[in-house]
């Protein structure tokens, strides 16, 4: 069991997973999103190789209307 903080929400997962697997679970595969892990950008091209670990703080963002 690992716990990740995603956009400020604590979420538990039964086993370790990659960034690509998390994005899939959240329904964002193929969507225009960007991911930050513990303050560092995770390039989309490295999602499959990026192993997430217990306690990671993740931010998943999109573009929205703004001035």
């Amino acid at each position: 069991m690992i716990t990740l903080s995603i956009n400020g929400e604590s979420r538990q997962f039964p086993a370790a997973l990659t960034a690509a697997e998390l994005i899939e679970i959240l329904g964002y595969t193929g969507k225009r999103i960007a991911l930050e892990r513990n303050g560092e950008i995770v390039p989309r091209s490295t999602f499959a190789a990026q192993q997430l670990t217990d306690g990671d703080k993740l931010e998943v963002v999109v573009a929205v209307g703004g001035g």
């Binding site: 995603i6 956009n7 400020g8 929400e9 959240l26 329904g27 964002y28 969507k31 225009r32 999103i33 960007a34 991911l35 930050e36 303050g39 950008i41 390039p43 989309r44 931010e59 998943v60 963002v61 999109v62 573009a63 929205v64 209307g65 703004g66 001035g67």
Partner: protein
């Protein structure tokens, strides 16, 4: 007329930059942008809503980055660190796009810029290869420092964000334009068309607005008004206005050949 706005080496026909916030829906956003003639649109970067259906309509579908130049902003950031992180995320989100709007706010009541944090963020972003258009106060010394750091446009407020109070200090805008060579774009405070025209008549390279359009009773019609006002103000600036002659009238019609009085 060959009069283009050039920012970081890229040429634009429109001098009106428009924000994409506060519209009723994406259809109204797009209609207003089209009516404004804008080519550069600001967008915000926000957390995805984890509970929400990921297939909801998306700003990028309504306002395609292939048709508009995106200007991701750092609205809501109160520190250099958060602003830099936000724009790194924006660059990743928009496939390496480097033109950004930096704004670091000082407090949530005034949304006045924190220029110390703004300068720190600008240094980091320029070093990382971003092309930084920077929202700042109308302080001419800070404006020059931001240019020296390498910002590609200086964007002083004309009055507080979302206030619609218009151009409160034209003299400071003039002081900035006298010192800065990169485009000076009024960002924040425009309330109606005449405010945009005044900014352009002063010699600003452009105006950026959001609430003045989105907060109008008819946003699409106001977007059209802003397009015309921006163009009219620019043409008036280029035309060179007549000098003001205080307390001295001057007739427009010939003074010779006036018929004489029958009572003489």
């Amino acid at each position: 007329m060959n009069d283009k706005l050039i920012i970081a080496g890229k040429t634009y026909n429109s001098r009106l930059l428009v924000g994409t916030g506060k519209y009723k829906d994406f259809a109204e956003t797009r209609a207003a942008l089209d009516a404004s003639g804008t080519e550069i649109v600001t967008v915000a970067i926000r957390r995805t809503n984890l509970g929400q259906n990921p297939n909801e309509p998306n700003l990028l579908d309504a306002v395609p980055p292939s048709k508009f130049t995106y200007l991701p902003n750092t609205a809501g950031c109160y520190s250099a660190e958060d602003a830099v992180r936000t724009l790194r995320l924006a660059r990743e989100l928009l496939d390496g796009h480097s033109l950004v709007k930096l704004e670091v706010l000082g407090d949530p009541q005034s949304l006045y810029p924190n220029v110390i944090e703004t300068i720190a963020a600008a240094k980091t972003l320029v070093a990382e290869g971003f092309q930084v258009m920077v929202y700042t106060s109308d302080d001419p010394i800070i404006a020059k420092q931001l240019e020296d750091i390498g910002c590609v446009a200086i964007m002083p407020l004309a009055s507080l964000i979302g206030s619609g109070m218009g151009i409160l200090n034209p003299w400071n805008l003039q002081l900035i334009m006298d010192r800065v060579r990169v485009p000076v774009i009024v960002d924040a405070g425009v309330g109606t068309a005449s405010d945009a025209a005044i900014a352009m008549e002063l010699g600003c390279a452009g105006v950026l607005m959001n609430t003045a359009i989105a907060g109008a009773q008819n946003p699409v019609l106001m977007a059209s008004a802003m397009k015309k006002a921006t163009e009219a103000g620019r043409e008036a600036y280029l035309a060179g206005r007549m000098p003001k002659k205080l307390y001295s009238a001057s007739p427009s019609s010939p003074t010779a050949g006036i018929i004489s009085s029958v009572r003489d």
